[in-house]
Symmetry: C2
């Protein structure tokens, strides 16, 4: 069956209708400043190493947020006093136009972007002199080379802009919601296509390529992050991106495939994970584990679903604790964990199987402002430390600690979904998981004092399930939530969908 037989209506590149001026005004208001300017420099074209091969261009997210410009070499100024936004365009020499084409004219740029004035780069100095700003607010990562030639360094503030920018980006405007809804729908469709097309004998890389093609032909030419297409035990490796294994029936006829992937369109992305059997039919063990994860997402104690509790005011930490409690109950119920529930919870033994956060904000970046990693903050042993350091490692790579001082202290501060209630117009993931990760299990079951809590024989039986994650991208609304993800996720729905292309022997 051809991958595009179940075609999603072709969208093509959408016309931008992002009111970036509104973003500027919002940031200004959050900063509480009446004068000064924002200055940002957009991403440049990058060549690979010592070659002339261009890297596919992707605008820096904050620059896109304020300008909507997805072309290289632009700069931007927003004047707080006059509310005038200036897009500073690069000058493209004649010789380059022969090779790269005519750039947009001033009129075309004014029509295309939600800015007030176009200025060419040679006039940046004159513009800044004319405005004569009291302060220049930049991000701590902004290249200030051009602006620092015109403005004394003591006028440049690298601290105030970022928190306001992040706060603004956390609560989405209607046009942002519409973009993310669209890209989540088309990415859901790509997940459905993979469910139909997966077969033993294929390679993970081909499925990744199919996912990207399904997104691209529906208008999402970028991926929000490197896709994870992980079969069998690789599903337990959280950031597995090798995607190069063959799906071999002989290795494991009950093999699960975990696909964590989302398209990106106009710089706005999504984040979705589905896990399903390559054969089209869950084994008994796989179904047990899968339904635990589904329960973690859907049906919690006292019939209170996590998803049903998503609404403004809900504390995310509460949700995380709830999910861990469900996981604990279920692992005791099926016998992998043995002992008193409260004792096991206190020891944090569930973290042998589930060692990441319940979710994060999604937007211009997949781990959007508001929390790229949600670490568990209490430590009882070495593995906690190990998990903590892991989180920290990734957070540091993400640069979230810049100019904030002590790192330990900032893990919490940088992931404030932990200490503030949900609000309408947040877009977040809900992504419980359960993994049989070799490194983690070896560490946990290696502590002699903890071994009595694990049924090692039963653990061995479930180990071949590999790992399960179910991840939806959802919008918090005034009265609850809208699940933007429309790919099936119950065992029955998945098996029904796969039945047509996976006849039972």
């Amino acid at each position: 069956m051809p991958p595009h037989a179940t075609s999603f209506p072709s969208l093509g590149p959408a016309k931008l209708s992002i009111k970036t001026k509104q973003h500027c005004l919002n940031v200004k208001q959050l900063m509480g400043q009446e004068t000064g300017i924002i200055y940002l420099r957009g991403a440049l074209n990058i060549l690979r190493d010592d070659t002339d091969v261009e890297i596919k261009f992707r605008q820096e997210s904050n620059f896109f947020y304020l300008t909507g410009v997805n072309e290289p070499d632009f700069q931007f100024v927003f004047d707080f006093a006059s509310h005038v936004s200036y897009l500073i365009a690069p000058y493209i020499p004649e010789a380059e136009r022969m090779w790269k084409g005519e750039p947009d004219t001033v009129e075309e740029m004014l029509q295309k972007y939600n800015v007030d004035q176009i200025v060419y780069e040679d006039d940046l100095a004159r513009l800044i002199e004319a405005i004569n700003p009291s302060s220049v607010f930049v991000l701590d990562t902004t290249d200030t080379t051009p602006i620092s030639k015109v403005v004394p360094m003591d006028k440049i503030d690298i601290c105030m802009l970022k928190p306001a920018m992040y706060e603004s980006r956390l609560l989405k405007f209607p046009w942002e919601i519409q973009l993310i809804r669209k890209v989540t729908h088309l990415s859901s469709h790509a997940h459905i296509t993979l469910m139909r097309e997966v077969q033993f004998g294929k390679n993970e890389s081909e499925l990744q390529a199919l996912f990207e093609w399904e997104c691209a032909r529906n208008g999402a030419n970028y991926q929000s992050y490197l896709p994870i297409v992980a079969s069998g035990k690789h599903a337990a490796t959280l950031h597995y991106t090798h995607n190069n294994k063959w799906l071999n029936r002989k290795d494991n006829p009950d093999m699960l495939l975990l696909v964590d992937a989302g398209g990106e369109k106009n710089c706005y992305g999504t984040d979705i994970t589905r896990t399903y059997p390559v054969s089209g039919k869950f084994s008994a063990e796989a179904k047990t584990i899968y339904n635990i994860v589904l329960k973690m997402q859907q049906v919690c104690e006292a019939s209170k679903a996590v998803l049903d509790r998503l609404r403004p005011g809900t504390m995310w930490t509460e949700m995380q604790n709830l999910v861990i409690r469900v996981l604990c109950q279920e692992l005791i119920r099926i016998g992998i964990l043995v002992g008193d529930q409260e004792e096991i919870l206190k020891l944090g033994l569930t973290r042998a199987f589930y060692f990441h956060g319940l979710g994060h904000s999604v937007g211009l970046d997949v781990h959007d402002v508001g929390g790229s990693v949600v670490p568990h903050l209490c430590y009882v042993n070495d593995l906690d430390r190990l998990i903590y350091v892991t989180s920290l490692y990734y957070s540091r790579k993400a640069g979230v600690f810049n100019c904030l001082g002590d790192e330990e202290d900032n893990v919490a501060r940088s992931h404030f979904l932990l200490d503030r209630p949900l609000e309408a117009n947040m877009i977040i993931t809900v992504e419980p998981g359960l993994y049989f990760n070799d490194v983690s299990l070896k560490a946990w079951t290696g502590f002699p004092e903890l071994q009595k809590y694990f049924n090692l024989e039963l653990l061995q039986k479930y180990r071949k399930v590999g790992g399960v994650r179910i991840e939806d991208t959802v919008l918090i609304t005034e009265n609850g939530y809208e699940n933007l993800t429309i790919a099936p996720k119950t065992v029955d729905d998945i098996e029904a969908l796969m039945a047509a292309t996976h006849p039972r022997n």
Copy 2:
């Protein structure tokens, strides 16, 4: 008709069988040094801007050439005296293994790569101390931070390695030829798929996505360069990579589509261009222009085809001059250029329509060592200067002038295909073109003294053809050449191929 109905046999990721040790020995021989070591640092994982989004990893080409390693954070040492090659592997902490998976063991690396010893990064200093090299040869672009901690700076030579490396990379080994042949075949297949699938109403971006999918599902998960999918007049923009226009029949029912794209597999790429009518049928004007370009490639004066003259010993400059002569004859024949052929050639007026080189080397980089740009080296007027500067601009971006001194002098030196004969085992492109580029034509026809040579009315008639380029990647053999490109390119063959999916009204 589904894009993959004409399926190419699925290849999947190939096992590496690149004898990189041979590459090291060859580089050593070309350097003529008996002692010292080569030190290279491979590419690192890169995160996008101030986020934790990983950029798709691509090894630095020279590092891949000597090691075959396509993973981040490796280093490499080759000892000239003992001929022992050392792969320096990164140490992956336990915490990271939970997230990224277990790295290869020493045994696995020794099996996977053609190296003699594996050393972990902490042992680099001890290794270098043990070897105690007289010189450390690095590329001028190598990050020497790790090695310079162990070796005094005056032992580090940044000049000798590069020329030898480039010379070695220019003449391909059998396993390299096999990789490029394979990727050229599967990319040719992807071009054929696009010919079948192109239709009015589609967007250039969808066709790009289809090309990438066709490559990826046949095992080439990378593109050798950003694809150019250029409809109508955009075909005249040489490095058009926006690829976002709709193919609108109302704009131009005779619209041509130029697709310049090639897959990449195991870091080896290819470079192919095909140009064809969206409708499936060439208009009279399009056919005229197309056949001129085909003649430039195939059937030159006195029945001497360029392709037929490709063999060891042939001077590339001779080929370029031949092609320009054919172009001149043909443009006079159809009446766009008016006047005496020798006079027109002397004035270089063909460059109004054809302003790039006839070809370049292909390998680990698409514009491989041996010439990324082949500029015309004689200047008669401002536009020559403009073209020259353009070439220079792109060359400079490619970094080919590093530590070589005067730029003007080096345009020729850096593109030595111009001053040396072809040799067996070179892989090069042959890519004549003919373009109606607004910037170029405006410049050329703007010189009052040149206007008499142009039939402006006729020029107007042909202008809507946009541009045509036909580009094959070919291997120079002992006795001639092998065209690795297998996509059709005559008008008849293209129309026959497209007929099934483009019925005539």
